[in-house]
Symmetry: C2
Subunit: 492 residues, 2 copies
């Protein structure tokens, strides 16, 4: 596993990050190279992390903190912690770092005078944007718009806000269709102020799937079905249906029949689904299943929202994971782009690796009136500027192609281990996962890996999920695999 030299010659793009230098003197203290291997000096979390957690817990929530990282000492695929450890990071802040730590392109761009004012005052973008906002959206963010989705709405700060606003757009669209009139009636305007029908369409629902995760605010949480700890004690929209996610390809027909029954029998504004159910345990379905959902949502005039908060931005080997939905259709030659347009969801949400949040949508989902999808800040220009550099770097360094190559390598090597305790290896690109025999075993494994210098994450009940940055290379994969092998050996 140590040497993957022969394989590495196949890699098309040059791994430029380690050879580039950060030139600006103002950041001379930032590291410029990755360590050759993880460096582990204490247990993780170490004593300094534990002390900081204790101090933080006195005034705020610190219990979920795994360790305190040192942003000044982290670089590339390696996160440094405050106890002097340098860990190979294949989890990357819960799947949210596309270019690893302190990427030179970002460091350079961030020192531009263009960024500075946005750092010192946050503009209310919906009320008064700066001119570069137009440029950022039109030429950068829209350059990665999924096929068929010609508009974008940025939202404030997190994936949940992207989902909540996409759901709002779906409700407004559906109600506008239902009433066959753009403007709400006086009765609707009056009743909504009391949270009552018809203005508040409380019998209208959103359909989501078992094990789905779409966020933790009140609307998004009503569609989340992954774990009780997220949902218990919080009121939910009680009539929003939950449907089974197929347990196998054989199960997909049954599930699609249930979807059809539900769409037929309810007043449904939207169906929301992740291309890979991530938080819920890295659950996959076939492209045909998603195409089936698309056909049904189209037939019953239901908005199809594809939640790519975790799957988006390259890690699956495509920029958007839902691009795989055309698999099998691609070879059909003429009519391919028609087919791709046919399967396009109506909206695609993003956050995490974009570092900014929002959703792409078909123009018909723009509310007919202004101020209906709105908030004071309506996004964050700094985070959008970051997204611009990320998008450019992914294109210039052909990182999505790299992810496919490194992902294949990693996946094959995982299968090659043929370890009796490692079950159901699955995934796309480097967005990989496998199961261990029990939740306790999985949790011990995560801890053990970290203490050996490699950070990986959990999902579902007994799944290990790999969520490295897009700059994760085969030699990082080798270190991960070695560490995994020794961790597994010690568990037996």
């Amino acid at each position: 596993m140590q040497c993957a030299g022969a394989f590495r010659t196949r890699i098309l793009t040059t791994y430029r990050i380690v050879t580039r230098r950060v030139d600006s003197c103002s950041v001379s203290t930032l590291p410029r190279e990755e360590p050759a291997r993880p460096l582990v000096q204490t247990l993780v979390p170490g004593p300094r992390s534990l002390e900081l957690a204790r101090e933080l817990q006195e005034v705020s929530e610190a219990r979920p903190i795994q360790f305190f990282h040192d942003p000044q000492q982290s670089f590339g695929n390696y996160v440094a912690d405050v106890d002097g450890n340098k860990l190979l990071d294949a989890f990357c802040f819960i799947a949210s770092l596309p270019l690893g730590y302190n990427h030179p392109n970002l460091i350079e761009a961030a020192q531009s005078s263009l960024w500075l004012p946005h750092l010192v005052q946050r503009p209310a973008l919906g009320y008064s944007a700066p001119p570069e906002w137009v440029h950022t959206l039109r030429t950068k963010i829209m350059s990665v718009a999924p096929q068929g989705l010609a508009s974008v709405q940025m939202t404030c700060g997190c994936g949940a806000s992207a989902v909540e606003n996409a759901l709002k757009a779906a409700f407004i669209w559906k109600r506008t269709l239902e009433r066959d009139c753009v403007d709400p009636s006086p009765t609707e305007l009056e009743s909504c102020m009391r949270n009552q029908e018809p203005g508040s369409p409380n019998s209208m629902v959103v359909v989501s799937f078992e094990h789905a995760f779409h966020g933790r605010l009140f609307g998004s949480l009503s569609t989340t079905r992954s774990k009780p700890i997220h949902k218990v004690d919080i009121p939910a929209f009680r009539n929003w249906p939950v449907l089974p996610f197929p347990e196998s390809e054989q199960d997909e027909t049954r599930c699609l029949e249930l979807v059809e029954k539900t769409l037929k029998g309810n007043r449904v504004a939207a169906l929301i689904i992740e291309p890979i159910l991530s938080e819920g345990g890295d659950l996959h379905a076939s492209p045909a299943f998603f195409r089936g959902l698309r056909a049904l949502t189209r037939r019953y005039q239901v908005a199809m929202i594809c939640d790519e908060v975790q799957t988006g931005v390259g890690a699956t080997g495509r920029f958007w994971a839902h691009e795989y939905w055309s698999e099998g259709l691609e070879k059909s030659g003429p009519g391919t782009s028609t087919a791709a347009a046919e399967i396009a969801p109506d909206m695609v949400t993003f956050a995490k690796k974009m570092q900014a949040s929002g959703f792409f949508f078909k123009p018909e989902f723009l509310p007919p009136q202004a101020y209906r999808i709105f908030s004071t800040w309506s996004g964050d220009p700094l985070r959008a500027l970051q997204a611009s550099v990320i998008i450019d770097t992914i294109a210039a360094d052909r990182l999505v192609e790299r992810v496919r190559i490194v992902g294949d390598y990693l996946s094959q090597a995982l299968h090659g281990l043929n370890h009796p305790l490692i079950e159901r290896i699955r995934g796309r690109g480097t967005f990989l996962a496998f199961d261990l025999p029990s939740p306790a075993r999985r949790n011990r494994f995560l801890q053990d890996m970290r203490n050996r210098g490699v950070v990986v994450g959990g999902s579902g009940t007994k799944t290990v999920r790999l969520r490295p940055a897009l700059i994760f290379d085969t030699h990082h994969a080798d270190i991960l695999l070695e560490t995994l092998a020794s961790a597994m050996a010690s568990q037996q």
Copy 2:
């Protein structure tokens, strides 16, 4: 009005911003002084703004944009637009700029190497924070914690997320009290996955007030009651009650009786209220009314959430507007601090002028289990660093005291105008408002003021709201008053 020299000698603090210089060469292009007066070269929005809006609307929502600002040319209380106008800004991105534009303290701090890594990768603060996060929360954010509120939870990006998470904390607290057991039962854990009782406490409610604004996501929107355009077509929690906000001090007893009836007759987790109903039209009630709410919420074991997203951070002449609730009690001598603790709400939300969002809370509102108030990013360290500098600058320059002085000056001058069309001048500090005779007249006035070089905002149906930065001075007030007088003269 031109000269307020005699008055100005009373001002305690030196207005340091215009004399400080930005030294770093990397920002030499940023302006360092305010213009002496507004500079108006075109209508606002001008042709360049209109063109940018047209371009933006092709891919995103641009209809609510009033004009495009130029962050590189804005300074202090003056916002530059892309058409070369320099406008005195008494609205400040919908009440969200505490220190105006490009404040030297922020410019200087933002160039520190400490900020840089947070600009290039957004950490998942709930999962792995950097060490300075502990410092920022403990010594900066907590330094402005309202009395009695010893904990803080930062949230992602916007005021609505602060409110939604505060509401979640209230529900978790109330359910934990109700079941008299920290851990939810197996039945609760199972039923919440289907959005059903008892796990989803759908008969438990939040009480809010007519004309209130608390945000636009699904939970917060259910408590917002300001305008139908925010609410229509979006499902709401149908049993969450709305109560009248007093129309006058004489009306307060009736309103409190209705509150008591509602708290008695329902399963209420929280009552949420703004200290000044801002978006709804700058509606005020007496300190005694708020103390009455506090007494009732305590009696019926209901969490009292004070929503200070718009009112917080100094503009009312106190750091938090709810500090005024002790008015009348302060003179009672001994027992004052007990009285202040008695009236403290259970949670206080913030965003806007803090530039970061979250809520302060009494430690008993920390959920008994981890991961219940959580999200990937769980805040934004950049925006919290900004908040730190803002907090330090407000203290060092005694800006809250300044606001009281400038606010008194501005309020007296507004009254002094004695204009027949200006009604109900009201407010605290520079957080001032008045009414015009009709919505059409108010809207024309806002437009007219902007074309004369001064930005003010609207709220409610016919209210003009002033929301200048905390560095707004008496000579800015003079320009505002002059411009107002000529705008009014042209309307007659």
